[in-house]
């Protein structure tokens, strides 16, 4: 006898396991394809430009406001607990370097780049362009997936460095102009709390987030079926899955890397 509600749940579970399995196969194929990296350098550089360099303006806008609002909200909190404002640079700096810059940059990157990868590869799938590549003896994994994942893995950490800098600048602008903290006080606070290890941990997270975005984006694109609707669905799923994975991985990283 079928128990109502349980069977669909079981089917869902099986589906998820299947998808994880298929994504792992793609991961394996990607790793194997790395031996042919020298032949894909040109494609990789192209993707670095499209995915990475072109994300700079968006990341800059996001970062300046993230920094600005952290400084303002920090000062607001400080006013309640009576903490001196010379600690503002310290508090904001920590928050930006450890969490805000890596996580928000990654989520924005997933929305811009992950979605773009899925839409592009999804369209190539439904118009048989991926089949055409294969029929010509060209590995779509090496030709399409490898340069995109590599560009994500290398460009998210790069963007996070940039995001750190812009966010701190944004925070300092608000601290100086809106909260009456001097530039020296703000920077001294930031410097006194800055630990290189925090920054490195942020970069490690960023690389992993980039990898997740690239792999999920390519996987969803490759497994697109049915025309325009399928492409739309793949794009949405790609952003949702990578965003959730970024937050889950971020929590795991917090437990592993930032111990007290």
């Amino acid at each position: 006898m079928e128990v109502v509600g349980v069977t669909p749940l079981g089917r869902r579970g099986v589906n998820v396991i299947q998808e994880v399995g298929r994504a792992s196969i793609m991961l394996g194929q990607f790793l194997l394809s790395l031996k042919d990296f020298p032949y894909s350098i040109r494609l990789y550089i192209q993707q670095v430009y499209y995915l990475g360099v072109r994300s700079l303006p968006l990341i800059a806008i996001i970062s300046v406001f993230v920094g600005a609002v952290s400084a303002w909200q920090g000062a607001y909190q400080f006013s309640f607990i009576g903490a001196p404002l010379r600690f503002l640079g310290q508090a904001v700096g920590k928050a930006v370097v450890i969490e805000l810059a890596p996580v928000l940059s990654a989520i924005v990157f997933a929305g811009r780049v992950g979605a773009g990868i899925s839409a592009e590869l999804g369209t190539m799938r439904v118009t048989e362009q991926i089949d055409a590549l294969e029929s010509m003896g060209i590995s779509p994994i090496r030709y399409l997936v490898q340069p995109r994942i590599l560009a994500c893995v290398t460009m998210v950490p790069f963007l996070v460095v940039f995001a750190n800098f812009i966010a701190i600048m944004g925070a300092m602008a608000v601290a100086v102009l809106g909260v009456n903290v001097s530039v020296e006080t703000f920077l001294n606070g930031f410097r006194s709390s800055f630990r290189l290890q925090d920054f490195i941990n942020g970069e490690i997270k960023a690389a992993v987030f980039g990898f997740v975005i690239g792999l999920v984006g390519c996987y969803e694109g490759f497994n697109t079926s049915g025309g325009a609707h399928g492409v739309g669905q793949a794009t949405t799923t790609s952003v949702v899955v990578s965003s959730v994975l970024i937050l889950v991985f971020n929590f795991i990283f917090a437990l592993l890397l930032f111990r007290f």
Binding site: E134, S135, M136
Partner: protein
């Protein structure tokens, strides 16, 4: 002559979910033959074609190329097999981010066997063969349906393949353009002396291109013979299909 067999299907079965598409399909195609595979839309013709270059694999049975079982062919050898086979896709499947010239030259470039000038020369030659020498710097979105098919054809023959697979080469084209494509296929077959397998439901095209016709019907091979035998056949299914009638044993 066994060694003359180019493509062979041995009891191939393929299903999508519970829906069988090919159910025990066996046939051989010899070198130099031109075969049309006909059948209704959704009868598994394209699926059959995709098995020949292992874009799909059978659930059971074997697909052989030059006597070699494709399922057992390691990936690096499969690349070599695929380079010997050119395929024209139904929608042409041109890479829309690349110019016509880059589309045609991609396979040559990626094989890393040719110098730049050689590739340029070969691309120009193939574009001339399909009558598009002027269109090299255009992008697929700027081309008409017939031109796209011709670029797809130039791309399929770029590597001087032994076998050409055509997936509905005339579908979606006006009758005149369709006939131009048919002529081009016949011309290429004689000029390049390739083996060609054409999937189509355009009977006029099938009769013009092929010297042998295979009809897929209800997941099996229903007919395998010359176009003349097909036309003279009294089989009601065949008659209904070639005359394109709604009345007969073939039901929606």
């Amino acid at each position: 002559m066994e060694n003359n067999v180019c493509v062979e299907f041995v009891d191939v079965r393929k299903a999508f979910g519970a829906q069988p598409v090919l159910d025990g399909v066996s046939f051989k195609v010899s070198r130099g033959e031109s075969v049309a595979i006909i059948g209704r839309s959704g009868s598994g013709k394209s699926v059959m074609l995709k098995h020949i270059i292992r874009l799909m694999s059978p659930d059971s049975g074997r697909v052989l190329y030059g006597g070699q079982d494709l399922a057992e062919t390691p990936d690096h050898e499969l690349v070599e097999v695929r380079r010997k086979i050119g395929m024209l896709f139904q929608s042409a499947a041109l890479f829309d981010s690349m110019s016509v010239r880059d589309n045609v030259g991609l396979g040559l470039r990626e094989s890393r066997r040719y110098k730049k000038q050689e590739i340029e020369r070969i691309v120009a030659e193939k574009l001339r063969m399909v009558g598009l020498e002027e269109a090299g710097s255009k992008y697929p979105s700027e081309l008409s349906g017939g031109m796209r098919k011709r670029v797809g054809l130039a791309r399929a023959i770029a590597n001087d393949p032994d076998v050409l697979l055509y997936d509905e080469p005339t579908t979606g084209l006006d009758p005149v353009t369709a006939d131009v494509i048919d002529d081009l296929i016949v011309e290429l077959n004689t000029k390049l002396s390739v083996t060609s397998i054409v999937v189509t439901h355009d009977m006029k095209s099938a009769f013009k291109i092929a010297r042998r016709v295979i009809m897929l019907y209800q997941t099996k091979i229903w007919f395998d013979g010359t176009p003349k035998e097909l036309q003279e056949s009294k089989d009601p299914v065949l008659q209904q299909f070639i005359t394109g009638s709604a009345i007969g044993p073939i039901r929606m």
